[in-house]
């Protein structure tokens, strides 16, 4: 197995960059789908950091990769639940014009209207 010659700090900086790009998307986006994508980006950056630390600091142990696997499970859960929530938020407006889009700004009101 070759020893990787890329310094650890490069991976950490890339992870930070991906994470804050995801945060920018989360803050700036008006579309609920895009916020889901931003959260996936942020989780992905976290996994990159975990795997890099696992490789550089403790190659003989398994803690880092185990945490990475658990974050993967959380990411899959987030995507599945996010899709279900999108559909649930959208349903009350399925017959009218698409107002369920920028739910990010006024999610409580939209959901309440659906319940009434």
């Amino acid at each position: 197995m070759p020893i990787a010659s890329v310094p650890l700090s490069w991976y950490l900086i890339l992870g930070a960059a991906l994470f804050w790009v995801g945060l920018y998307g989360l803050l700036a986006s008006r579309a609920l789908i895009r916020t889901l994508m931003s959260i996936a980006l942020m989780l992905n950056a976290v996994v990159l950091n975990l795997v890099a630390f696992a490789r550089f600091v403790e190659p003989a142990r398994t803690a880092g990769k185990t945490f990475a696997l658990i974050v993967y499970a959380i990411a899959a859960a987030q995507a599945a639940l996010g899709l279900a929530l999108l559909i649930a938020v959208r349903r009350p407006h399925s017959t009218v014009a698409v107002e369920g889009t920028d739910v990010l700004n006024r999610a409580p009101r939209v959901v309440d209207e659906g319940k009434r």
Partner: protein
């Protein structure tokens, strides 16, 4: 040297793809950029001597999460189309994200981090990982809990998505 070039190429690829995800106006394009970003990160896992994580990344992120979001964008086609007209660039958000990134990059460069891995990957590290996941003294409890979490989540997602 070769590895550094490969790292830089795929790091820039992943970063550009990530920026396109949050800036491109079309949701369908954003999903494809998201897949590209995940693919670029998977190549970096190969560079980290972690082919298992690279495979998991391709299976779960590119094949699962991104495809699921793509399906969501098709199911909610009207919503996605409506949202395209409302893509806005937010200066406050970009200032917050950029300044926090610069802070974090500065901290990373200040820390005494290893330049190279402290040891080569042991043979059969995947078998070690598998054994640790089902070892009561290792990570059996988190492993079982994550299984229960996924089950509860499936039921919850079915309930939320049910017609009523």
């Amino acid at each position: 040297m070769f590895e550094q070039i490969v790292f830089l190429v795929f790091a820039v690829f992943a970063l550009v793809a990530a920026i396109k995800v949050v800036t491109t106006p079309r949701i369908s394009h954003a999903v494809l950029w998201l897949m590209s970003c995940f693919f670029g990160v998977a190549v970096l896992y190969l560079l980290l001597d972690s082919p298992f994580m690279a495979g998991i990344q391709l299976l779960i992120y590119t094949g699962g999460v991104a495809v699921l979001i793509g399906v969501a964008s098709v199911v909610l086609r009207g919503a996605a189309r409506e949202a395209q007209r409302r893509v806005t660039h937010s200066w406050p958000a970009s200032i917050v994200a950029l300044s926090l990134f610069l802070l974090m990059a500065w901290m990373t460069l200040e820390l005494p981090l290893p330049e190279a891995p402290q040891a080569a990957n042991p043979e059969g590290s995947l078998a070690l990982l598998g054994a640790a996941l089902v070892d009561p003294a290792g990570y059996l409890l988190p492993f079982e809990l994550i299984g229960v979490l996924l089950l509860v989540l499936l039921v919850g997602a079915l309930y939320l998505g049910k017609e009523r």
